[in-house]
Protein backbone atom coordinates (compact mmCIF):
# COMPACT_ATOMS: atom_id res chain seq x y z
CA UNK A 1 0.00 0.00 0.00
CA UNK A 2 1.10 3.53 -0.73
CA UNK A 3 0.57 4.91 2.77
CA UNK A 4 0.53 2.88 5.97
CA UNK A 5 -2.67 2.69 7.97
CA UNK A 6 -3.33 1.90 11.62
CA UNK A 7 -6.36 1.17 13.74
CA UNK A 8 -6.50 3.91 16.36
CA UNK A 9 -9.89 3.28 17.89
CA UNK A 10 -12.42 0.47 18.24
CA UNK A 11 -15.87 0.44 19.77
CA UNK A 12 -18.72 -2.01 20.01
CA UNK A 13 -22.14 -2.34 21.59
CA UNK A 14 -23.20 -5.17 23.83
CA UNK A 15 -24.58 -7.76 21.44
CA UNK A 16 -27.98 -9.19 22.17
CA UNK A 17 -31.06 -10.64 20.51
CA UNK A 18 -33.25 -7.59 20.93
CA UNK A 19 -32.79 -3.88 21.59
CA UNK A 20 -36.07 -2.11 22.29
CA UNK A 21 -34.42 0.69 24.26
CA UNK A 22 -32.75 2.19 21.19
CA UNK A 23 -33.75 2.63 17.59
CA UNK A 24 -31.39 1.44 14.88
CA UNK A 25 -29.39 4.68 14.44
CA UNK A 26 -29.07 5.09 18.22
CA UNK A 27 -27.70 1.58 18.61
CA UNK A 28 -25.04 2.29 15.99
CA UNK A 29 -24.28 5.61 17.67
CA UNK A 30 -23.33 3.75 20.86
CA UNK A 31 -20.47 2.03 19.04
CA UNK A 32 -19.41 5.29 17.38
CA UNK A 33 -19.15 7.02 20.75
CA UNK A 34 -17.26 4.06 22.20
CA UNK A 35 -14.73 4.16 19.36
CA UNK A 36 -14.28 7.94 19.60
CA UNK A 37 -13.68 7.57 23.34
CA UNK A 38 -11.19 4.77 22.72
CA UNK A 39 -9.27 6.95 20.24
CA UNK A 40 -9.80 10.08 22.33
CA UNK A 41 -11.09 11.82 19.21
CA UNK A 42 -14.19 13.92 18.64
CA UNK A 43 -16.73 13.93 15.83
CA UNK A 44 -14.84 16.77 14.17
CA UNK A 45 -11.73 14.63 13.66
CA UNK A 46 -13.40 12.03 11.47
CA UNK A 47 -12.93 12.96 7.83
CA UNK A 48 -14.88 10.24 6.03
CA UNK A 49 -17.17 7.32 6.79
CA UNK A 50 -17.59 3.88 5.29
CA UNK A 51 -20.81 2.10 6.27
CA UNK A 52 -21.25 -1.66 6.28
CA UNK A 53 -24.48 -3.57 6.69
CA UNK A 54 -26.73 -6.00 4.83
CA UNK A 55 -29.84 -3.89 4.38
CA UNK A 56 -32.07 -6.74 3.26
CA UNK A 57 -32.07 -8.18 6.77
CA UNK A 58 -33.63 -5.03 8.15
CA UNK A 59 -35.83 -4.47 5.09
CA UNK A 60 -34.28 -1.04 4.50
CA UNK A 61 -33.04 1.01 1.59
CA UNK A 62 -30.01 3.28 2.12
CA UNK A 63 -29.77 2.49 5.84
CA UNK A 64 -26.68 4.70 6.16
CA UNK A 65 -28.81 7.72 5.24
CA UNK A 66 -31.09 7.12 8.21
CA UNK A 67 -28.31 7.38 10.79
CA UNK A 68 -26.20 10.30 9.61
CA UNK A 69 -27.03 12.46 12.63
CA UNK A 70 -26.65 9.63 15.13
CA UNK A 71 -23.16 8.68 13.93
CA UNK A 72 -21.97 12.26 13.60
CA UNK A 73 -21.61 12.23 9.81
CA UNK A 74 -23.62 15.35 9.00
CA UNK A 75 -21.68 17.34 6.42
CA UNK A 76 -19.06 14.61 6.00
CA UNK A 77 -18.09 12.43 3.03
CA UNK A 78 -18.80 8.74 3.02
CA UNK A 79 -20.62 5.89 1.36
CA UNK A 80 -22.01 2.45 2.02
CA UNK A 81 -20.63 -0.81 0.79
CA UNK A 82 -22.55 -4.03 0.88
CA UNK A 83 -22.11 -7.62 -0.09
CA UNK A 84 -22.27 -10.94 1.63
CA UNK A 85 -20.98 -11.78 5.07
CA UNK A 86 -17.61 -10.30 4.14
CA UNK A 87 -19.05 -6.81 3.71
CA UNK A 88 -17.55 -5.58 6.99
CA UNK A 89 -14.03 -6.60 5.99
CA UNK A 90 -14.41 -5.00 2.63
CA UNK A 91 -15.59 -1.80 4.32
CA UNK A 92 -12.44 -1.77 6.45
CA UNK A 93 -10.39 -2.45 3.32
CA UNK A 94 -11.93 0.49 1.49
CA UNK A 95 -11.53 2.77 4.51
CA UNK A 96 -7.83 1.79 4.54
CA UNK A 97 -7.64 2.53 0.81
CA UNK A 98 -9.07 6.02 1.34
CA UNK A 99 -6.27 6.71 3.81
CA UNK A 100 -3.41 5.07 1.95
CA UNK A 101 -4.57 6.82 -1.24
CA UNK A 102 -3.87 10.05 0.60
CA UNK A 103 -7.47 11.25 0.34
CA UNK A 104 -8.02 11.40 4.11
CA UNK A 105 -6.02 11.06 7.30
CA UNK A 106 -8.75 9.66 9.53
CA UNK A 107 -11.65 7.45 8.42
CA UNK A 108 -14.30 5.57 10.33
CA UNK A 109 -15.91 2.24 9.52
CA UNK A 110 -19.45 2.01 10.87
CA UNK A 111 -20.95 -1.47 10.81
CA UNK A 112 -24.06 -2.97 12.32
CA UNK A 113 -26.98 -5.31 12.10
CA UNK A 114 -30.17 -5.08 14.13
CA UNK A 115 -31.66 -8.50 13.71
CA UNK A 116 -34.74 -7.74 15.79
CA UNK A 117 -35.96 -5.82 12.71
CA UNK A 118 -36.46 -8.95 10.65
CA UNK A 119 -35.69 -12.61 10.13
CA UNK A 120 -32.11 -12.93 8.87
CA UNK A 121 -32.54 -16.54 7.82
CA UNK A 122 -35.45 -15.52 5.61
CA UNK A 123 -33.27 -12.69 4.34
CA UNK A 124 -30.54 -15.13 3.40
CA UNK A 125 -33.07 -17.42 1.72
CA UNK A 126 -33.90 -14.43 -0.48
CA UNK A 127 -30.33 -14.57 -1.80
CA UNK A 128 -31.68 -17.25 -4.13
CA UNK A 129 -33.58 -15.76 -7.05
CA UNK A 130 -36.81 -17.76 -7.16
CA UNK A 131 -36.73 -17.99 -10.94
CA UNK A 132 -33.51 -20.00 -10.69
CA UNK A 133 -33.55 -21.71 -7.31
CA UNK A 134 -36.97 -21.45 -5.68
CA UNK A 135 -37.32 -23.70 -2.69
CA UNK A 136 -33.72 -24.89 -2.67
CA UNK A 137 -31.88 -22.46 -0.43
CA UNK A 138 -32.99 -22.40 3.17
CA UNK A 139 -31.01 -19.68 4.86
CA UNK A 140 -27.33 -20.09 5.45
CA UNK A 141 -28.03 -22.91 7.84
CA UNK A 142 -28.93 -25.53 5.25
CA UNK A 143 -25.79 -24.69 3.31
CA UNK A 144 -23.63 -25.07 6.39
CA UNK A 145 -25.44 -28.32 7.12
CA UNK A 146 -24.19 -29.64 3.77
CA UNK A 147 -20.73 -28.31 4.55
CA UNK A 148 -20.80 -30.09 7.92
CA UNK A 149 -21.76 -33.38 6.31
CA UNK A 150 -18.86 -33.10 3.88
CA UNK A 151 -16.49 -32.25 6.67
CA UNK A 152 -17.62 -35.21 8.74
CA UNK A 153 -17.22 -37.55 5.77
CA UNK A 154 -13.84 -36.27 4.71
CA UNK A 155 -12.07 -35.61 7.99
CA UNK A 156 -13.46 -38.17 10.37
CA UNK A 157 -14.49 -35.48 12.86
CA UNK A 158 -17.21 -36.53 15.29
CA UNK A 159 -20.03 -34.71 17.02
CA UNK A 160 -17.98 -34.49 20.23
CA UNK A 161 -15.51 -32.28 18.37
CA UNK A 162 -18.27 -29.89 17.36
CA UNK A 163 -19.26 -29.89 21.02
CA UNK A 164 -15.69 -28.99 22.00
CA UNK A 165 -15.74 -26.04 19.61
CA UNK A 166 -19.06 -24.91 21.09
CA UNK A 167 -17.84 -25.22 24.65
CA UNK A 168 -14.65 -23.31 23.84
CA UNK A 169 -16.71 -20.52 22.29
CA UNK A 170 -18.92 -20.35 25.35
CA UNK A 171 -16.04 -20.31 27.80
CA UNK A 172 -14.56 -17.40 25.83
CA UNK A 173 -17.87 -15.58 25.49
CA UNK A 174 -18.42 -15.82 29.24
CA UNK A 175 -15.19 -13.83 29.63
CA UNK A 176 -16.27 -11.21 27.06
CA UNK A 177 -18.81 -8.75 28.50
CA UNK A 178 -19.96 -7.72 25.00
CA UNK A 179 -20.76 -11.24 23.75
CA UNK A 180 -24.37 -12.15 22.96
CA UNK A 181 -24.69 -15.82 23.99
CA UNK A 182 -23.00 -16.35 27.34
CA UNK A 183 -24.59 -19.63 28.25
CA UNK A 184 -22.33 -21.18 30.87
CA UNK A 185 -22.46 -24.56 29.15
CA UNK A 186 -21.09 -27.26 31.41
CA UNK A 187 -20.28 -30.12 29.12
CA UNK A 188 -21.12 -32.48 26.29
CA UNK A 189 -24.60 -33.22 27.69
CA UNK A 190 -25.67 -29.59 27.38
CA UNK A 191 -24.62 -29.70 23.75
CA UNK A 192 -26.35 -32.98 22.97
CA UNK A 193 -29.62 -31.70 24.42
CA UNK A 194 -29.72 -28.96 21.80
CA UNK A 195 -32.23 -29.69 19.04
CA UNK A 196 -31.50 -29.89 15.32
CA UNK A 197 -32.10 -26.82 13.19
CA UNK A 198 -31.26 -28.43 9.90
CA UNK A 199 -29.72 -31.84 10.28
CA UNK A 200 -26.86 -32.26 11.29
CA UNK A 201 -26.65 -28.67 12.58
CA UNK A 202 -27.94 -28.26 16.09
CA UNK A 203 -29.20 -24.99 17.48
CA UNK A 204 -25.97 -24.76 19.49
CA UNK A 205 -23.80 -25.42 16.44
CA UNK A 206 -24.94 -22.30 14.70
CA UNK A 207 -24.42 -18.56 15.05
CA UNK A 208 -27.26 -16.48 16.54
CA UNK A 209 -28.95 -13.42 15.03
CA UNK A 210 -27.63 -10.54 17.11
CA UNK A 211 -28.32 -6.84 17.41
CA UNK A 212 -25.07 -4.98 17.61
CA UNK A 213 -22.65 -2.53 16.04
CA UNK A 214 -18.90 -2.22 15.74
CA UNK A 215 -16.85 0.82 14.75
CA UNK A 216 -13.19 1.02 13.81
CA UNK A 217 -11.24 4.25 13.35
CA UNK A 218 -8.30 4.21 10.93
CA UNK A 219 -5.53 6.76 10.56
CA UNK A 220 -2.50 7.50 8.43
CA UNK A 221 0.94 6.65 9.84
CA UNK A 222 1.75 10.18 10.90
CA UNK A 223 -1.56 10.81 12.61
CA UNK A 224 -1.85 7.33 14.11
CA UNK A 225 1.31 7.74 16.14
CA UNK A 226 -0.05 10.95 17.64
CA UNK A 227 -3.55 9.67 18.31
CA UNK A 228 -2.94 6.38 20.07
CA UNK A 229 -0.05 5.14 22.11
CA UNK A 230 -0.77 1.62 20.84
CA UNK A 231 -1.78 1.91 17.20
CA UNK A 232 -2.42 -1.44 15.51
CA UNK A 233 -1.04 -1.58 11.98
CA UNK A 234 -3.09 -2.94 9.11
CA UNK A 235 -0.18 -4.58 7.37
CA UNK A 236 -2.06 -6.26 4.53
CA UNK A 237 -5.42 -7.60 3.48
CA UNK A 238 -6.65 -10.01 0.87
CA UNK A 239 -10.02 -10.87 -0.64
CA UNK A 240 -11.07 -13.88 -2.71
CA UNK A 241 -14.58 -14.09 -4.09
CA UNK A 242 -16.14 -16.97 -5.89
CA UNK A 243 -19.17 -17.51 -8.07
CA UNK A 244 -22.08 -19.55 -6.70
CA UNK A 245 -21.23 -23.24 -7.00
CA UNK A 246 -23.32 -25.69 -8.90
CA UNK A 247 -23.50 -27.82 -5.81
CA UNK A 248 -23.53 -25.63 -2.73
CA UNK A 249 -23.66 -22.00 -1.77
CA UNK A 250 -21.14 -21.80 1.05
CA UNK A 251 -18.15 -23.75 0.02
CA UNK A 252 -18.23 -26.70 -2.27
CA UNK A 253 -19.56 -29.70 -0.39
CA UNK A 254 -18.26 -32.05 -3.04
CA UNK A 255 -14.67 -31.39 -2.09
CA UNK A 256 -13.73 -31.12 -5.76
CA UNK A 257 -13.37 -27.35 -5.84
CA UNK A 258 -10.60 -25.15 -4.51
CA UNK A 259 -11.76 -23.06 -1.58
CA UNK A 260 -11.48 -19.27 -1.60
CA UNK A 261 -9.95 -19.51 1.90
CA UNK A 262 -7.01 -21.50 0.59
CA UNK A 263 -6.50 -19.01 -2.21
CA UNK A 264 -6.74 -15.91 0.01
CA UNK A 265 -4.52 -17.43 2.69
CA UNK A 266 -1.87 -18.55 0.21
CA UNK A 267 -1.67 -15.08 -1.34
CA UNK A 268 -1.62 -13.23 1.99
CA UNK A 269 0.97 -15.53 3.57
CA UNK A 270 3.22 -15.48 0.50
CA UNK A 271 3.30 -11.69 0.32
CA UNK A 272 4.16 -11.47 4.01
CA UNK A 273 6.65 -14.30 4.24
CA UNK A 274 4.46 -16.48 6.43
CA UNK A 275 5.37 -20.12 6.08
CA UNK A 276 4.37 -21.45 9.50
CA UNK A 277 1.17 -19.70 10.56
CA UNK A 278 1.03 -20.93 14.15
CA UNK A 279 4.60 -19.80 14.74
CA UNK A 280 4.60 -16.50 12.90
CA UNK A 281 1.10 -15.39 13.83
CA UNK A 282 0.05 -15.25 17.47
CA UNK A 283 -3.72 -15.60 17.31
CA UNK A 284 -6.70 -15.44 14.97
CA UNK A 285 -10.24 -14.13 15.02
CA UNK A 286 -12.11 -16.02 12.32
CA UNK A 287 -15.65 -15.81 11.00
CA UNK A 288 -17.03 -19.25 11.88
CA UNK A 289 -20.78 -19.48 11.31
CA UNK A 290 -20.91 -23.03 12.69
CA UNK A 291 -18.85 -25.30 14.89
CA UNK A 292 -18.07 -27.63 12.01
CA UNK A 293 -17.02 -24.70 9.84
CA UNK A 294 -14.52 -23.59 12.49
CA UNK A 295 -12.67 -26.90 12.28
CA UNK A 296 -12.77 -26.83 8.51
CA UNK A 297 -11.48 -23.25 8.46
CA UNK A 298 -8.47 -24.20 10.62
CA UNK A 299 -7.44 -26.34 7.67
CA UNK A 300 -8.24 -23.87 4.92
CA UNK A 301 -6.32 -21.10 6.69
CA UNK A 302 -3.37 -23.50 7.04
CA UNK A 303 -3.38 -23.59 10.85
CA UNK A 304 -2.97 -27.35 10.41
CA UNK A 305 -2.89 -30.05 7.76
CA UNK A 306 -5.95 -31.15 5.82
CA UNK A 307 -8.46 -33.23 7.81
CA UNK A 308 -6.75 -32.36 11.09
CA UNK A 309 -8.79 -29.35 12.18
CA UNK A 310 -10.64 -31.42 14.76
CA UNK A 311 -7.35 -32.50 16.27
CA UNK A 312 -6.47 -28.89 17.06
CA UNK A 313 -9.63 -28.49 19.09
CA UNK A 314 -9.13 -31.91 20.69
CA UNK A 315 -5.65 -30.89 21.83
CA UNK A 316 -6.75 -27.50 23.10
CA UNK A 317 -4.37 -25.68 20.75
CA UNK A 318 -6.91 -22.94 19.97
CA UNK A 319 -8.09 -22.20 23.53
CA UNK A 320 -7.46 -18.79 25.14
CA UNK A 321 -4.52 -20.31 27.03
CA UNK A 322 -3.51 -22.44 24.04
CA UNK A 323 -0.55 -22.29 21.74
CA UNK A 324 -2.57 -20.62 18.94
CA UNK A 325 -5.76 -19.04 20.30
CA UNK A 326 -8.69 -18.75 17.90
CA UNK A 327 -11.71 -16.55 18.67
CA UNK A 328 -11.03 -15.67 22.31
CA UNK A 329 -13.95 -13.22 21.98
CA UNK A 330 -16.34 -16.14 21.70
CA UNK A 331 -16.51 -15.67 17.97
CA UNK A 332 -19.46 -15.67 15.67
CA UNK A 333 -21.20 -18.62 17.35
CA UNK A 334 -21.53 -16.34 20.37
CA UNK A 335 -22.30 -12.99 18.67
CA UNK A 336 -23.40 -12.36 15.10
CA UNK A 337 -24.60 -8.92 13.99
CA UNK A 338 -23.82 -9.87 10.39
CA UNK A 339 -22.83 -6.52 8.87
CA UNK A 340 -20.58 -5.90 11.88
CA UNK A 341 -19.30 -9.45 12.35
CA UNK A 342 -16.16 -9.11 10.18
CA UNK A 343 -15.39 -5.71 11.73
CA UNK A 344 -15.68 -7.29 15.17
CA UNK A 345 -13.07 -9.87 14.18
CA UNK A 346 -10.69 -7.03 13.25
CA UNK A 347 -11.54 -4.99 16.35
CA UNK A 348 -11.07 -8.00 18.65
CA UNK A 349 -7.75 -8.90 17.04
CA UNK A 350 -6.65 -5.27 17.51
CA UNK A 351 -7.61 -5.40 21.20
CA UNK A 352 -5.54 -8.58 21.61
CA UNK A 353 -2.52 -6.90 20.00
CA UNK A 354 -2.92 -3.90 22.29
CA UNK A 355 -3.32 -6.19 25.28
CA UNK A 356 -6.64 -4.50 26.01
CA UNK A 357 -8.95 -7.51 25.73
CA UNK A 358 -9.45 -7.68 29.47
CA UNK A 359 -10.69 -11.00 30.79
CA UNK A 360 -10.46 -12.65 27.39
CA UNK A 361 -6.89 -11.51 26.69
CA UNK A 362 -5.00 -14.56 25.46
CA UNK A 363 -2.01 -15.97 27.30
CA UNK A 364 0.35 -15.76 24.33
CA UNK A 365 1.91 -12.34 23.71
CA UNK A 366 0.18 -11.11 20.59
CA UNK A 367 2.39 -9.20 18.19
CA UNK A 368 0.73 -10.41 15.01
CA UNK A 369 -2.86 -11.47 14.43
CA UNK A 370 -5.12 -12.38 11.57
CA UNK A 371 -8.82 -11.57 11.27
CA UNK A 372 -10.94 -13.24 8.62
CA UNK A 373 -14.45 -13.18 7.29
CA UNK A 374 -16.68 -15.39 5.22
CA UNK A 375 -19.74 -14.68 3.14
CA UNK A 376 -21.58 -15.00 -0.13
CA UNK A 377 -20.97 -18.28 -1.90
CA UNK A 378 -17.78 -18.89 0.04
CA UNK A 379 -16.10 -15.51 -0.15
CA UNK A 380 -13.10 -14.82 2.04
CA UNK A 381 -11.45 -11.68 3.34
CA UNK A 382 -8.35 -11.74 5.54
CA UNK A 383 -6.55 -9.02 7.46
CA UNK A 384 -3.02 -9.16 8.84
CA UNK A 385 -2.52 -6.88 11.85
CA UNK A 386 0.68 -6.12 13.75
CA UNK A 387 1.82 -4.29 16.87
CA UNK A 388 4.81 -2.71 15.15
CA UNK A 389 5.67 -1.95 11.57
Amino acid sequence: MAGRVAIVGVGQTHHTSRRDDVNLPEMVGEAVRAALADAQLSKKDIEAFIFSNMESFEGLLLPDHGMITEVGATGKPGLKVTGGGTTGSEAVGEACNLVSAGLYDITMVVSWQKHDCGDATAGISAAAVPIAAKGLVVGAVSEFAKQALSYINQSGAREEHAAMVRLKADRCACRNPYAHLRLGLKGLDDYLQSGYLVWPIRMLDFCPQSCGACVVILASEERAKKIHKKPVWVVDFEVAHQEPFSAGSFGDPTGTETYSQDVAAARLYKRNGITDVRKQVDMAEIYEPSTWEEMSLYEHFHFCEKNEGWKLIEKGVTEIEGEFPVNPSGGVIASNPIGATPVLRIAEAALQIRGDAGEHQVTRDVKTAIATSLGGPNWTAMFLLKRSL
Binding site: D20, L24, E26, G59, D116, G118
Partner: protein, 158 residues
Amino acid sequence: MAQVTEKLEGMDVWVYHGQIYIPNTYSAGAVGSRFLIELRDNKKIMGTRCPTCNLVYVPARSVCKDCFGELSEWVEVSQKGTLLTYTVAYQSNPIQPVSTPIVYGIVQLDGADTGFVHMLGEVDPEKLKVGTKVKAVFKSKKERQGSILDIKYFKPLG
Protein backbone atom coordinates in the same frame (compact mmCIF):
# COMPACT_ATOMS: atom_id res chain seq x y z
CA MET B 1 -50.89 -13.82 -3.95
CA ALA B 2 -50.81 -15.39 -7.36
CA GLN B 3 -47.29 -16.21 -8.42
CA VAL B 4 -47.22 -16.67 -12.16
CA THR B 5 -44.55 -17.50 -14.69
CA GLU B 6 -45.16 -15.91 -18.06
CA LYS B 7 -43.35 -16.41 -21.36
CA LEU B 8 -42.38 -13.30 -23.29
CA GLU B 9 -43.76 -13.28 -26.78
CA GLY B 10 -41.41 -14.27 -29.55
CA MET B 11 -38.45 -15.26 -27.40
CA ASP B 12 -37.38 -17.98 -25.02
CA VAL B 13 -37.47 -15.75 -21.96
CA TRP B 14 -39.75 -16.18 -18.97
CA VAL B 15 -40.78 -13.65 -16.34
CA TYR B 16 -41.77 -14.77 -12.86
CA HIS B 17 -44.18 -12.47 -11.07
CA GLY B 18 -43.38 -13.17 -7.45
CA GLN B 19 -42.67 -11.53 -4.14
CA ILE B 20 -40.30 -11.14 -1.25
CA TYR B 21 -42.31 -11.12 1.91
CA ILE B 22 -40.48 -10.75 5.19
CA PRO B 23 -42.27 -8.77 7.93
CA ASN B 24 -40.14 -6.11 9.62
CA THR B 25 -40.40 -4.47 13.02
CA TYR B 26 -38.52 -1.36 14.12
CA SER B 27 -38.02 -0.31 17.71
CA ALA B 28 -38.56 3.37 18.41
CA GLY B 29 -36.07 3.33 21.28
CA ALA B 30 -36.43 5.13 24.58
CA VAL B 31 -36.64 8.65 23.16
CA GLY B 32 -38.86 7.73 20.23
CA SER B 33 -41.14 5.67 22.47
CA ARG B 34 -41.58 8.51 24.92
CA PHE B 35 -42.44 10.86 22.05
CA LEU B 36 -45.03 8.44 20.65
CA ILE B 37 -46.48 7.62 24.05
CA GLU B 38 -46.99 11.34 24.77
CA LEU B 39 -48.91 11.57 21.48
CA ARG B 40 -50.98 8.52 22.35
CA ASP B 41 -51.72 9.11 26.02
CA ASN B 42 -51.59 12.87 26.46
CA LYS B 43 -51.99 14.38 23.00
CA LYS B 44 -48.78 16.25 23.64
CA ILE B 45 -46.14 17.01 21.01
CA MET B 46 -42.74 16.78 22.63
CA GLY B 47 -39.33 17.89 21.51
CA THR B 48 -35.82 17.69 22.85
CA ARG B 49 -33.54 20.66 23.27
CA CYS B 50 -29.84 20.87 22.55
CA PRO B 51 -28.39 23.13 25.25
CA THR B 52 -25.18 23.68 23.25
CA CYS B 53 -26.77 24.77 19.98
CA ASN B 54 -29.97 26.05 21.58
CA LEU B 55 -32.08 24.09 19.09
CA VAL B 56 -35.40 22.39 19.85
CA TYR B 57 -35.90 19.21 17.80
CA VAL B 58 -39.47 18.16 17.09
CA PRO B 59 -40.25 15.25 16.89
CA ALA B 60 -38.01 14.56 19.88
CA ARG B 61 -34.61 13.17 18.89
CA SER B 62 -31.73 11.79 20.89
CA VAL B 63 -28.79 13.40 19.05
CA CYS B 64 -28.09 16.94 17.81
CA LYS B 65 -27.27 17.03 14.09
CA ASP B 66 -24.80 19.88 14.54
CA CYS B 67 -22.82 19.20 17.72
CA PHE B 68 -23.42 15.42 18.10
CA GLY B 69 -24.49 16.07 21.69
CA GLU B 70 -26.90 13.66 23.34
CA LEU B 71 -30.22 15.32 24.05
CA SER B 72 -31.98 14.79 27.34
CA GLU B 73 -33.93 17.97 27.97
CA TRP B 74 -37.59 17.46 27.07
CA VAL B 75 -39.87 20.34 26.08
CA GLU B 76 -43.48 20.41 25.10
CA VAL B 77 -44.15 22.53 22.02
CA SER B 78 -47.27 24.18 20.69
CA GLN B 79 -49.69 22.22 18.55
CA LYS B 80 -49.84 25.22 16.25
CA GLY B 81 -47.25 26.16 13.71
CA THR B 82 -46.32 27.46 10.28
CA LEU B 83 -46.31 25.55 7.03
CA LEU B 84 -42.79 25.45 5.55
CA THR B 85 -43.68 23.52 2.41
CA TYR B 86 -46.36 21.17 1.11
CA THR B 87 -47.37 19.00 -1.82
CA VAL B 88 -50.53 17.41 -3.10
CA ALA B 89 -49.56 13.85 -4.00
CA TYR B 90 -51.74 12.04 -6.53
CA GLN B 91 -49.86 8.77 -6.97
CA SER B 92 -51.08 5.90 -4.79
CA ASN B 93 -48.95 3.32 -3.06
CA PRO B 94 -49.87 0.52 -0.66
CA ILE B 95 -48.22 2.18 2.37
CA GLN B 96 -50.20 5.41 2.34
CA PRO B 97 -52.51 5.56 5.38
CA VAL B 98 -55.31 7.39 3.53
CA SER B 99 -56.42 7.51 -0.08
CA THR B 100 -54.96 9.95 -2.61
CA PRO B 101 -54.75 12.80 -3.18
CA ILE B 102 -52.75 13.25 0.01
CA VAL B 103 -51.49 16.64 1.09
CA TYR B 104 -48.08 16.26 2.72
CA GLY B 105 -46.47 19.14 4.52
CA ILE B 106 -43.61 20.19 6.76
CA VAL B 107 -44.76 22.27 9.71
CA GLN B 108 -42.59 24.28 12.07
CA LEU B 109 -44.43 24.19 15.37
CA ASP B 110 -44.24 27.21 17.64
CA GLY B 111 -41.36 26.59 20.00
CA ALA B 112 -39.57 24.20 17.63
CA ASP B 113 -36.53 24.90 15.48
CA THR B 114 -37.11 22.03 13.05
CA GLY B 115 -39.91 21.05 10.72
CA PHE B 116 -42.41 18.28 11.42
CA VAL B 117 -43.18 16.05 8.43
CA HIS B 118 -46.82 15.02 8.26
CA MET B 119 -50.10 15.31 6.34
CA LEU B 120 -52.60 18.13 6.06
CA GLY B 121 -56.37 17.73 6.22
CA GLU B 122 -59.58 19.78 6.03
CA VAL B 123 -57.82 21.91 3.49
CA ASP B 124 -58.45 23.42 0.10
CA PRO B 125 -55.12 22.88 -1.68
CA GLU B 126 -55.81 25.90 -3.89
CA LYS B 127 -55.79 28.17 -0.87
CA LEU B 128 -52.78 26.62 0.82
CA LYS B 129 -49.59 28.70 0.95
CA VAL B 130 -46.16 28.40 2.45
CA GLY B 131 -46.55 30.31 5.70
CA THR B 132 -50.14 29.17 6.37
CA LYS B 133 -50.79 28.75 10.10
CA VAL B 134 -51.87 25.20 10.96
CA LYS B 135 -52.67 23.10 14.03
CA ALA B 136 -52.51 19.44 14.88
CA VAL B 137 -55.63 17.27 14.80
CA PHE B 138 -55.36 14.07 16.82
CA LYS B 139 -57.14 10.80 16.26
CA SER B 140 -59.61 9.76 18.96
CA LYS B 141 -58.18 8.16 22.07
CA LYS B 142 -59.42 4.77 20.93
CA GLU B 143 -57.67 5.05 17.57
CA ARG B 144 -54.34 6.22 18.95
CA GLN B 145 -51.76 3.42 19.03
CA GLY B 146 -48.44 5.05 19.75
CA SER B 147 -47.44 5.97 16.22
CA ILE B 148 -46.77 9.06 14.14
CA LEU B 149 -50.24 8.48 12.72
CA ASP B 150 -51.82 9.26 16.14
CA ILE B 151 -51.79 12.78 14.75
CA LYS B 152 -54.47 12.56 12.08
CA TYR B 153 -53.16 15.58 10.19
CA PHE B 154 -52.57 19.31 10.53
CA LYS B 155 -55.34 21.68 9.48
CA PRO B 156 -55.32 25.38 8.69
CA LEU B 157 -56.22 27.67 11.59
CA GLY B 158 -59.42 29.68 11.54
